[in-house]
């Protein structure tokens, strides 16, 4: 394999912690899975680093590992480097973690879709094993023994027979002269010898977070920066009509008022346009923004009204639509049945409301009147998307956009859409100095890429045992595809697959359709995406059928899931998130296992014996290739006040790298899903969002979140699946099924704030 060492100096700043003149061994993994290589920096030379590097070892033994995914609370900035360190047999206390800038040669950095461990677990192992193997070979040459007799152990290579050992730092020079081993010749550690994978460690940023020193996008600073707050058109696609800024410019500290153009064509990640106020402080800019006298032309979305649209969606979901899955003949079976059940379910728009609003600082460099580069520091889930969007806006090559990734004050999908980074870049271009853009909470709630608004119609014919003989699902919701393709009214396959087309139930006749729906705002992905409305509908309907049949919901659900088997993904037309059916089969046995296990944990047997006002609800689903079962317990007083004393969750996501961080996300998902179920609703009138801050877009706090979350991770040798989004979808239906058990009230639309839960 060729040595990829690259003299290109344009990638400055990468691996900046490595001192000039040190001798380092570096292994790289690039986009091609097997392309692992090692590069060497000669002693005394100026280090020039190829950004494809994931691990380097300096002569003093310090190991530097690149974190190329964004940290927004999952622990990934610690988890993936620990995978490298494990295969390398590195001493974790001698490991330094470097956050990568955006660069497509690292492979995907889009920290989204619960993909980080799934996509990079094996690549990180190969990177670590490559470096360890070279160190072992170097020691073998020095000792004149067989490489197979030499083993990396906790930062030293050891020769057991002679008792000799050498530290990693002492082997770097010899190792760097060796050829790079092919990845298929590497000796990988067996799982029984893993020292960090599956073991807990504090996240690398813990102390910085606890002392207030952690740097988020809102904290990013550049010398001589201005602070910007922006007035955006209240309606998506609107344009500035008139502007008076005299009062704004009179505010102490305000420097400039600058117009930003609206987007052309589909919104994608372009700025919404508007008027930016740039000042010496965030507060001055904010005050100035509020004193702007602006009027807007609302454009084509000025009549968007979600009350009207809800009725449109309900109609669309009743009509035949595009067929996504058709096993057997559901239509004829239902038409010929005397026992047909049907129900409709709906979920409104939701906002991400990440705790830190979107924020970025940009510095555009202009030489001889020509834009040459842009450096940004941003809270972004996707630095490569920042490169693309900023490069397009400034008409410079993507490689000239350097994106430093800060910590993210959560993201949930919002921060993979870099419109706010482009805003900062355009303002810096205009002012020829760094500009930091802060979104206020009102900006964030009113100008989000909203979770879709949806309606699902379900119909089933049932046999004498109460189990369905045919199952029809019709959904209508504006699609994320409208973000990229202006005017698109068709659902995308990946959206329908999330919770509808992937129906796991053992029903002879299944038909899945979607209707057309126009998008009148920016539609984006939010933690667990279309699974939210789809699994709410499907798992609620299963519970309805159980009650109709007079059967216990757990027993019925297991019967509905049928025999342990692998779902025929070809027959169902599933893409399986691009994963192969061999590696990631749709295993009904595993889905049944988490369903049964969570019921055991919750002592489900007592479900039928609870007094009125108390209830247990169950739901389970496969999402992001992982399996989750939820049982929710509710207490509802006669006036309708709801409490959630306890939630049980069983998660099977294959091999787990960081158990405590996964448990933390499972616990947190119960709270986030509680927010969705209890409060989540963004509504529009005349194209404008009616909510503006946490007083009217409520987030569950400690007092209305589940009081106790008991989570269990199923031990598994299966390849790692997603975990961040996986424990979200089954919570809301389990909660609503519990509400039915407690009160007899069936909830078919969210949020619960719209419903009266009182009983007598």
């Amino acid at each position: 394999m060729s040595n990829p060492f690259n003299k290109d100096m344009s990638r400055r700043g990468f691996l900046s912690s490595i001192s000039t003149g040190s001798l380092v061994l570096m292994a790289r993994v690039s986009q091609a899975e097997d392309d692992v290589a090692v590069a060497v920096v000669e002693e005394g030379s100026v280090p020039t680093f190829d950004p494809d590097l994931f691990v380097s070892i300096a002569r003093d033994g310090v190991v530097t590992i690149t974190a190329h995914r964004s940290e927004m609370g999952t622990g990934i900035r610690t988890g993936l480097p620990r995978v490298v360190a494990d295969e390398l047999e590195a001493d974790w206390s001698k490991v330094v973690i470097e956050q990568a800038v955006g660069d497509k040669r690292l492979g995907s950095q889009n920290t989204d879709g619960s993909n980080s461990v799934r996509h990079f677990f094996q690549r990180m192992r190969v990177a670590g094993a490559t470096a360890r193997t070279m160190l072992e070979q170097a020691a073998a040459e020095i000792w004149n023994v067989e490489p197979t007799e030499c083993h990396g152990r906790n930062h030293r290579v050891v020769h057991a027979e002679s008792g000799k050992s050498l530290g990693y730092g002492d082997l770097v020079e010899a190792a760097s002269k060796l050829d790079i081993p092919a990845s298929d010749t590497l000796r990988m550690k067996p799982a029984s010898e893993w020292r960090y994978i599956g073991k807990d460690a504090p996240i690398t940023d813990l102390d910085a977070i606890l002392t207030g020193k952690a740097e988020y996008g809102i904290d990013a600073r550049m010398e001589n920066q201005l602070y910007a707050v922006i007035a955006r058109p209240p309606v998506v696609g609107g344009k500035l009509k008139t502007l008076e800024s005299a009062d704004t410019l009179a505010v102490e500290g305000v420097q400039h008022v600058i117009e930003i153009e609206g987007y052309q064509g589909a919104p994608v990640f372009q700025p919404l346009g508007g008027v930016a106020v740039c000042a010496d402080s965030t507060w001055a800019a904010w005050q100035g923004r509020d004193l702007l006298k602006v009027s807007w032309d609302d454009g084509p979305n000025g009549e968007y009204d979600t009350e009207v649209f809800a009725a449109d969606l309900a109609e669309a979901a009743k009509r035949p639509g595009k067929v996504w899955r058709n096993n057997g003949d559901a239509m004829a079976t239902i038409a010929n049945s005397a026992a047909v059940q049907n129900a409709d379910y709906s979920v409104p728009h939701l906002a991400h409301a990440s705790m830190e609003t979107p924020c970025a600082v940009a510095d555009v460099k202009v030489e001889s009147g020509k834009v040459v580069s842009c450096v940004l520091k941003a809270a972004t889930q996707n630095p490569q998307a920042v490169q693309q969007a900023v490069a397009a806006a400034l008409a410079i090559p993507e490689a000239e956009v350097i994106v430093h990734v800060t910590l993210l004050g959560s993201g949930f999908g919002r921060k993979s859409k870099p419109d706010y980074c482009v805003e900062a870049a355009l303002l810096s271009l205009k002012l020829q100095r760094p500009v930091h853009v802060t979104w206020t909470r009102e900006d964030d709630i009113q100008h989000d890429y909203y979770h879709t608004m949806s309606h699902v119609h379900l119909e089933a014919s049932v046999g004498e045992d109460g189990l369905p003989t045919a199952w029809l699902q019709r959904a209508a919701f504006p699609s994320i595809s409208s973000l990229f393709s202006a005017g698109s009214e068709n659902a995308a396959g990946f959206e329908v697959e999330m919770g509808l087309q992937d129906l796991p139930y053992d029903v002879p006749h299944i038909r899945v359709e979607s209707g057309k729906a126009k998008a009148s705002t920016r539609i984006g992905w939010l933690r667990s995406v279309n699974h939210i409305p789809h699994n709410f509908a499907v798992s609620s309907f299963a519970d309805e059928l159980a009650h109709h049949a007079g059967r216990d919901p757990l027993e019925y659900l297991l019967a509905l899931l049928g025999e342990d088997r692998l779902l025929d993904m070809k027959a169902a037309g599933l893409s399986n998130r691009g994963a192969s059916a061999e590696e990631y089969p749709y295993d009904i046995g595993r889905l049944k296992h988490v369903t049964r296990r969570v019921a055991e944990m919750a002592d489900w047997q007592r479900a039928g014996e609870l007094p009125k006002g108390r209830g247990l609800g169950i739901a389970s689903c496969r999402s992001f290739l992982g399996y989750t079962g939820h049982v929710v317990e509710v207490e509802i007083d006669q006036k309708g006040k709801l409490q959630i004393p306890k939630v049980w969750v069983a998660l099977d996501a294959g091999v787990i790298v960081s158990p405590d961080r996964v448990l933390a996300q499972v616990e947190g998902a119960a709270s986030m899903a509680a927010t969705i179920a209890l409060h989540g609703k963004i509504s529009f009138t005349k194209g404008r969002v009616n909510q503006s801050n946490f007083d009217d877009y409520r987030i569950a706090t400690m007092s209305d979140s589940p009081r106790e979350v008991v989570a269990e991770l199923v031990k598994s040798d299966a390849p790692p699946a997603g975990v961040g989004e996986t424990p979200v979808p089954s919570f809301a239906p389990a909660l609503c099924n519990a509400i039915f058990a407690a009160t007899g009230k069936r909830i078919r639309s969210l949020p619960l704030a719209d419903h009266d839960l009182s009983w007598s």
Binding site: T211, Y216, T282, W283, G409, M702, S703
Partner: protein, 152 residues
């Protein structure tokens, strides 16, 4: 000339309007970015600091209101990050994204100063801060651990 006392130091702010929120003075003028912005209207608690030992939301507390009171931010909660609340947060692995945790810890520290052994209900009533990652069960547990530590 406005002067405020932050973490035991007198800080000169120049001639700034009395109605300037403490939050932006701390963050943009004094460079104390440990205190975060979340909502600007005292709905989320992310910006919580101490004023004479009591929890206040710095986004709605003006420098005029601060006057001669002593302001404590996360940078001044302890010298080396070992306040019992910080230790308990570390022990329970509370933070996920971490953004709201400074405000949560400042709130918890003030709560424990006023009430050495709060009940579950008291913790729930006092800790109204929003955490979007949903770390509430661990916050509750960490407050109890910190309470025990402080009683030793």
């Amino acid at each position: 000339m406005t002067i405020i006392n932050v973490n035991g130091e007198k800080r000169e702010l120049g001639d700034i309007p009395d109605d300037t929120p403490l939050l932006w003075v701390l963050r943009d003028q004094l460079g104390l970015t440990g205190t975060k912005y979340g909502c600007g209207v005292s709905e989320c608690g992310v910006c919580t600091v101490h004023l004479d030992g009591e929890a206040v939301q710095s986004c709605v507390t003006t420098v005029g209101e601060v006057g001669d009171s002593l302001v404590t931010t996360i940078e001044g909660l302890s010298e080396d990050g070992t306040h019992p609340v910080q230790n308990a947060w570390r022990e329970h692995g509370v933070p996920q994204c971490g953004y709201c945790q400074v405000g949560q810890m400042m709130m918890a520290a003030a709560l424990l100063k006023a009430n050495a052994s709060p009940t579950d209900e008291e913790i729930e009533n006092e800790m109204w801060n929003i955490c979007r990652c949903g770390t509430y069960p661990r916050i509750r547990a960490a407050i109890k651990t910190a309470a025990k530590e402080m009683q030793k």
